[in-house]
């Protein structure tokens, strides 16, 4: 029973963390361009970037 007091909050916390991460990425627009994201790894950055 003592284990449960510790484990259940941990399990729920981890789940909530995942949910929060999903919401965050949704708001960041990471799901807007799924096909493009797969291709961007092939894009070379320009040497000098103006910040």
């Amino acid at each position: 029973m003592n284990g449960l007091i510790l484990l259940i909050p941990i399990a729920l916390g981890l789940g909530l963390l995942g949910l929060a991460a999903f919401f965050w990425s949704l708001r960041q627009g990471q799901f807007e361009d799924l096909d493009g994201a797969a291709l961007r790894i092939l894009v070379e950055d320009e040497e000098e970037r103006i910040a």
């Binding site: 449960l4 729920l12 789940g15 919401f23 949704l26 361009d33 799924l34 291709l39 092939l42 894009v43």
Partner: protein, 704 residues
């Protein structure tokens, strides 16, 4: 430069194909000082720019074309589209929340089912309640809203039993928990929400994806024009800001943004999108020209007589709006099922409650059984049956270059039994193709190719396209010069070579161009709008599929007759948009379900009125907006493939319904008998959902 001073603009760039294009655009565009940031959306083939407010539209389009891309400005999206994207995001959030809740509650429920008892079971039930109740309140909103809307109008839909079921089960389970009962159905309630939300979300994803594809295709016809100011300088004016008596300068190859009268210049205009007429019409000062037509030869000055809502196009738009009203009467298969299903479910649950009350089981036990009946009959599989099959079918078709606007389009497509087909641009390619190029010598071909490549005139483009098939290299030419209204001229090995308007060949108004060396005609090339390469096969395949075809054309009888003869179809010619509408109404009245195929503005109302409709990717914006689906490329076969796919999809949907009914036939008696524990409910629900989704996935391989 401050961020606040920047304006945001969106462009559709259909030619983005690879990672190289992304890099080229994002890095190339920002080299222009006025463009602060560029972001490519590959999925939707769009580019989002932040630029300084003084950057004109032609400059931005110029920046794209200097990188080798054709860009079409997209107006600030209609609010409707934004609202739909927001709905789909809200659904996705609800799916995520209910998925999270379902998994965690299931974790606790498994412990209860494997024998947790006493205080542990109570603790787990309370924890489940703490997760489930906020989830039901958050993720259930789409269903509650829709059910409430239906009830307020004294109707019922699928969402009414769902909402009642979920709420009743939650309240009952809470009561169970508070009274230390053995069975809490929190897992069932949340699982039900999760599966149903998945179905809703799939449905909305499908609409979004197709809408994205369609916006990328829209050219936003005549989105503006160069207008002469008082000081004779020209400035770009947006189509919405055009006013009567402004004078537009319309370059060759540009579409007119407003109706007007030609004040100077002579040219020919392509009316095919407006009327279906395939031969271009010559225009001289004083002639009336309409918005949406394409100026072919030479720059024209046009005095605007009507813009925006007053143009000839607007009349067609009004007709389209009226025609589309009829289509909204179509009731989707899931809703038709719900009309029978919802009352049956309610009666069953009521019956179970009354039965157990009469049998003396006490109100608590009876209510629990009624709740079990509601939750077990709740159309978990039914909610997934339709969208799962339709999204798989739409995905398979999209890979084939067919965009389906929504699920109801697939349902309607499966029912059609008569195809009414427009000629220009639908059965034919809708663009001039050079004839008899094979008879020219190789030397002449390479000279013509070199001249044609240097011009953007539609005939030159047709020549370039046609000659590239012959594997010839363009000749080396010097001092190439294009004279609007005449043609291209260049120097080659001491001779003057020209490609231009034919002189004195007696060809009448047929489309032709003449190649001459030092003014001496060498070759005359004629052009004609050609049938799509597989038009014959597609018409035959349609007939095999039990769909008779008929031509409805706005073109003259002489132009339609050869096509009709070649394909063995009957044809009606010289039809106005109203005539086409009337033809559809006549066929509908005798019981046909009409599939309308068309591309032009003049087909818009007919596309909106047909039971189902398809348009080629080269269609007018109005045509693409009105059609249920759009096929890309030069082949006509996708039309037949789409109809076949729609029929297969409908078959799978029906199988799914059968599965759901069989499941109910087994599960309802169990629930009636009070034998459905939360464990059985969970197994039955997820089992039937998996079965339905698995069946839908079979459609993936249905199209070769």
């Amino acid at each position: 430069m401050t961020a606040a001073a920047l304006v945001e603009r969106d462009f559709a760039v259909p030619d983005i194909r690879c990672a190289g294009c992304i890099a080229k655009l994002e890095q190339g565009l920002v080299r222009d000082r006025r463009i602060a940031a560029a972001r490519v959306n590959f999925t939707e083939r769009r580019v989002h720019l932040s630029c300084t407010p003084d950057t004109g539209m032609p400059d931005l389009i110029g920046a794209f074309s200097s990188l080798g891309f054709e860009a079409h400005p997209i107006g600030t999206g209609p609010d409707e589209a934004d609202a739909e994207a927001e709905t789909s995001r809200e659904l996705l959030r609800a799916v995520a929340v209910s998925g999270f809740a379902m998994m965690n509650i299931m974790l606790l429920s498994v412990s209860v089912w494997s024998g947790a008892a006493g205080a542990t079971r109570d603790l787990f039930h309370w924890l489940s309640a703490a997760i489930a109740l906020p989830t039901v309140a958050y993720a259930g909103r789409p269903f509650f809203r829709s059910a409430w809307r239906a009830l307020r109008h004294r109707r019922t839909n699928m969402d009414v039993p769902i909402s009642i079921g979920v709420l009743l089960v939650s309240v009952m389970s809470l009561y169970e928990t508070a009274t230390h009962g053995a069975h809490a159905y929190f897992d069932g309630a949340v699982m039900l929400l999760f599966f149903l939300l998945c179905g809703r979300w799939l449905d909305s994803v499908m609409r979004d994806r197709a809408r994205g594809g369609v916006t990328a295709l829209l050219r936003n016809m005549g989105t503006g024009a160069m207008v002469f100011q008082h000081d004779r300088a020209t400035q770009w004016v947006d189509a919405t800001a055009l006013e009567p008596d402004m004078v537009m300068l319309v370059a060759a190859g540009e579409r007119l943004a407003a109706d007007g009268v030609v004040t100077s210049g002579s040219s020919s205009v392509d009316l095919s999108l407006l009327t279906g007429e395939s031969a271009p019409q010559a225009v001289r000062p004083g002639d009336v020209v309409h918005a949406g037509t394409l100026n072919l030869d030479a720059p024209l000055k046009v005095r605007v007589t009507a813009a925006g809502a007053d143009t000839a196009i607007a009349d067609i738009a009004r007709l389209m709006g009226e025609a589309a009203q009829g289509k909204s009467r179509y009731v989707r298969i899931a809703d038709r099922a719900a009309r029978l299903y919802a009352p049956a479910v309610h009666c069953l649950a009521l019956l179970a409650f009354a039965g157990w009350m009469v049998a003396g089981a006490g109100w608590h036990h009876s209510l629990l059984i009624a709740a079990a009946v509601l939750i077990i009959t709740c159309p978990c599989a039914l909610g997934l049956a339709v969208p799962a099959a339709q999204i798989v079918a739409a995905g398979a078709l999209m890979r084939k270059g067919v965009l389906i606007k929504d699920g109801s389009a697939l349902e309607r497509l499966s029912e059609v039994d008569l195809a009414l087909v427009d000629k220009t641009g639908t059965l034919t390619l809708g663009r001039p193709e050079a004839l008899d190029l094979g008879q020219l010598d190789v030397g002449v071909k390479s000279l013509i190719l070199a001249l044609a490549q240097s011009s953007r005139h539609p005939l030159s483009e047709a020549l370039t396209r046609g000659l590239q098939a012959f594997d010839v290299r363009p000749a080396e030419l010097a001092s190439i010069r294009e004279t609007p209204g005449f043609g291209v001229e260049a120097r080659w090995a001491g001779h003057v070579v020209t490609l231009g308007r034919p002189v004195g060949t007696g060809l009448g108004d047929a489309l032709a161009t003449q190649f001459a060396v030092d003014g001496r005609p060498v070759a005359t090339i004629r052009f004609a709008d050609q049938l799509r390469p597989d038009a014959h096969g597609a018409v035959d395949a349609l007939r095999e599929a039990g769909i008779a075809a008929m031509i409805l054309s706005g073109d003259r009888a002489e132009a339609v007759a050869p096509v009709a003869r070649e394909l063995g179809l009957t044809a009606q010619t010289g039809m106005s948009p109203q005539d086409k509408l009337a033809a559809i109404a006549r066929q509908t009245a005798v019981g046909h379900k009409v599939l309308m195929l068309g591309d032009g503005l003049n087909d818009g109302p007919a596309l909106a009125a047909g039971h189902a409709s398809m348009a080629p990717g080269s269609a007018s914006d109005a045509g693409k907006n009105a059609a249920d689906c759009i096929f890309l490329g030069d082949r006509l076969m996708p039309v037949v493939e789409t109809v076949r796919m729609a029929r297969r999809t409908q078959a799978v949907v029906r199988q799914n319904f059968m599965l759901a009914i069989v499941y109910n036939v087994v599960a309802v008696p169990l629930a009636f008998a009070g034998l459905v524990t939360p464990l059985i409910a969970a197994i039955a629900m997820s089992g039937s959902s998996l079965l339905v989704v698995g069946n839908a996935l079979r459609l993936r391989g249905a199209i070769r």
